[in-house]
């Protein structure tokens, strides 16, 4: 075991110090935080000119509802009423207001509003808040509870008959997290898998493998590499995860649904449970391909095709969201290379039956174990075939015990 950990530690340090790895490790969270920070700065920077003027020809607006109920996002000081359109436009030209909304006389019949702006259109959230103002004004005569229900709509909780799976309303994180998990998974798989492929091919090409295999067993070497690269992926996920949390904390300052969101621990558990065997599957495949082909370039070409097998759910995202419990979605969930992403994407769109979750995990984990079992055997058979590809017959003989 000591040698296995030595190999793991060496692989970890070797790739951790690479500029490309450090760049992707730090670059992604920094990028996310910057995006969120820029969003916040632009909001703060544009705060002074957010007063909106309006001309109510239809006589439907009720300033007393501002700051309450459906119009809680608008405060009285953010709205300026004008008697005529001309006065409003003059104020807009003078910069007293950032925009002017005219409610025509026939609004109740036609539903149309007219909005003006001068330099820089006010953000969508301003127009959205104004629409809430109109909605709240029209409902001002109703029972406040009814007005609130009309304003906010209904919340739907979907639950399986057995009660083992439930999709709560307003699960913003349930939709965001699967995409984030998919993004992180693909990056982690591509970078770490690429490193693993490269290390196997390099050692084969420069014959370091001969020195290594006279010091450690093939299993120690392969499992050590896989362990080192899992640790590398874990580091990547930890740093990226912290980056995502930091970005969410920043974004929550100005994006209310994020502030109200709860951490979906069950989904996180599922993501972790599927990620680890998925990564082992990638590792096993990369070692096998790196061993079977004589040169790194040839291996890369094969890996490009293999990667598609992991990306399929992304290509079919529309179909999966439209019919998250359809035959295709179930099939992709049960197929090892697509299981993780499909399950993650379906999570936000449907209640996935427990049997599918357990079956998908069991198939994935078994396949991952198989790939890790196959990898050292093919590695041993193929590591010294300089300039020659290991054919299927030789691979089969290697699996049956010959070398």
């Amino acid at each position: 075991m000591r040698r296995l950990f030595l190999v793991a530690g060496h692989e970890y340090q070797r790739f951790f110090r690479r500029r490309s790895f450090l760049f992707s490790l730090i670059g992604m969270p920094v990028f996310l935080i910057l995006i969120m920070g820029v969003g916040e700065l632009s909001r703060v920077g544009s705060g002074e000119a957010e007063t909106i003027g309006y001309v109510d020809r239809a006589g439907v607006l009720e300033p007393r509802v501002l700051g309450t109920g459906a119009a809680e996002d608008l405060r009285p000081e953010e709205l300026l009423a004008f008697d005529t359109e001309e006065a409003g436009l003059e104020a807009l030209a003078d910069g007293q207001v950032a925009g002017l909304v005219v409610v025509p006389q026939d609004y109740l019949r036609e539903r149309s509003l007219l909005a003006y702006y001068d330099e820089g259109e006010p953000g969508e959230e301003v127009w959205s808040a104004f629409r809430d103002f109109i909605r709240a004004s029209l409902l001002s005569a109703e029972n406040p509870q009814v007005a609130e229900r009309v304003g906010e709509g209904a919340e739907l909780t979907v639950q399986s008959l057995q009660g083992d799976r439930e999709m709560a309303p307003g699960g913003f994180m349930d939709v965001l997290l699967p995409f984030a998990a998919g993004f992180i998974f693909i990056f982690a798989a591509i970078t770490s898998g690429g490193y693993l492929l490269q290390t196997v091919s390099d050692e084969k090409e420069n014959r370091t493998v001969e020195v290594l295999t006279t010091s450690v067993s093939t299993n120690q070497l392969i499992f050590g590499k896989a362990l080192g690269l899992i640790a590398l992926a874990a580091t990547q996920l930890l740093v990226w995860g912290l980056g995502v949390v930091a970005a969410i904390v920043i974004a929550a300052q100005f994006f209310e649904p994020l502030a109200a969101a709860e951490v979906p621990w069950v989904l996180l558990g599922v993501v972790v449970a599927f990620f680890i065997p998925s990564y082992l599957l990638v590792a096993g495949i990369m070692i096998t391909i790196g061993s079977a082909f004589p040169e790194y370039k040839q291996s890369q070409q094969v890996v490009a095709i293999i990667n598609i097998l992991f990306f399929i759910p992304f290509f079919l995202v529309t179909i999966l969201f439209e019919n998250p419990n359809g035959t295709l979605a179930v099939a992709l969930s049960l197929f090892p290379t697509t299981a993780f992403l499909t399950i993650a994407m379906r999570w936000g769109a449907a209640v996935i039956p427990l049997w599918q979750l357990l079956s998908a995990w069991a198939i994935l984990t078994t396949t991952a174990g198989l790939s890790i079992w196959v990898a050292p055997k093919v590695f041993r058979a193929g590591m010294l075939r300089y300039g020659q590809r290991l054919d299927l017959g030789e691979s089969w003989r290697a699996l049956r015990g010959g070398r």
Partner: protein, 330 residues
């Protein structure tokens, strides 16, 4: 030749015992029948032309390949982890991570051989200073010259003080000064009772270092025994000729090369120098100023045996089977 033969004789239990090894890759029979023994305190030369099966034999010996047939005993048994730790292997090409610092790579390889970190650090400093690499320890391997990389590989081979040292073309890329240093290192290891198996094409290095050799051709051992004995056996199988005329295309001559005006003619195993003299004397347009038997060099013997493919001769000399040597030792 070195005095290593006597040291080799001192050991009676072989460090390596290879019997009837065979290995095929698909339709290609890389090794057909290879047997030899290597004893403590000797440098054993494993020779052969390109593609003869030397490296495959070494790899089977080191359990990198599993043989299709035959047995290997290393350091008294089959190759387990404890025995692996007593082996130092220098492959034909440089088996080092090129994108890492020299001291990082060597420390890693030393630790894989079971050394603890302080011991590695202590021995590494000593070896790096001795081979003039101390100042370069912080450099990446790919920044080092070919010769420096080869010396680094030698350090990786010897850092854990192995009992069996297997080196494949150890002098590749080395200048004469560094070649001499590495030869001294190997001689020291031999004197300390280590077994060294050296595979090389440089016959003068074999003559200088090796006490015994095995010559492999087409996957089989075609010559096996002590270097002195083999040279005695092949004495008269080369002649030096000076004069005027055409000395090429002569019957019984397997290799003809001209050096400093003199022709060096390697003869086939069954050729008679007297017949050659008579042929030259009667050849039109040839004037002989000098004709003498050359001292048989391993180079000539190598060429003669390989080109002739004369296994019968080697068999008649009683040196094909390792048991001949073993019996003598006993």
């Amino acid at each position: 030749m070195s005095s290593s033969a006597s040291s080799a004789d001192a050991g009676t239990i072989p460090s390596v015992s290879v019997r009837n090894l065979a290995k095929s890759f698909g339709p290609v029979r890389a090794v057909q029948d290879v047997s030899f023994d290597v004893y403590p305190g000797e440098i054993f030369g494993l020779l052969g032309p390109n593609g003869s099966g030397k490296t495959t034999t070494i790899r089977m010996m080191l359990d990198i390949f599993e043989p299709d047939k035959g047995t290997v005993q290393v350091l008294g048994g089959s190759l387990d982890q404890a025995r692996k730790d007593r082996i130092g292997y220098l492959p034909e090409d440089r088996g080092l991570y090129k994108d890492q610092k020299l001291d990082t790579v060597l420390t890693y390889l030393g630790r894989l051989k079971g050394l603890d970190e302080p011991t590695v650090a202590e021995r590494l400093e000593s070896w790096l200073r001795r081979l003039d690499l101390w100042e370069h320890r912080e450099k990446k391997v790919q920044e080092l010259s070919k010769g420096m990389q080869q010396k680094a590989q030698v350090i990786a081979t010897l850092l854990h003080d192995p009992d069996l040292i297997v080196v494949d073309e150890p002098f590749s890329g080395l200048d004469p000064v560094n070649t001499r240093i590495i030869k001294e290192v190997f001689d020291e290891q031999r004197a300390a009772g280590k077994s060294i198996i050296m595979s090389t094409h440089q016959m003068y290095q074999v003559e200088a270092l090796c006490s015994r050799i095995a010559l492999i051709n087409q996957g089989e051992v075609v010559l096996y025994g002590e270097v002195d004995e083999i040279r005695r056996r092949f004495a008269g199988n080369a002649v030096v000729v000076e004069g005027e005329g055409n000395f090429e295309g002569l019957g019984g001559v397997v290799d003809a090369r001209q050096t400093n005006g003199a022709w060096h003619l390697a003869l086939s195993a069954d050729a008679d120098p007297h017949d050659l003299l008579r042929t030259l004397a009667s050849r039109e347009g040839v004037r002989l100023d000098r004709f003498e038997l050359a001292e048989a060099s391993l180079d000539d013997i190598f060429v003669s045996v390989v080109q002739e493919g004369d296994r019968a001769f080697a068999g008649a000399g009683g040196s094909l089977e390792p048991s001949a040597t073993e019996n003598r030792r006993a």
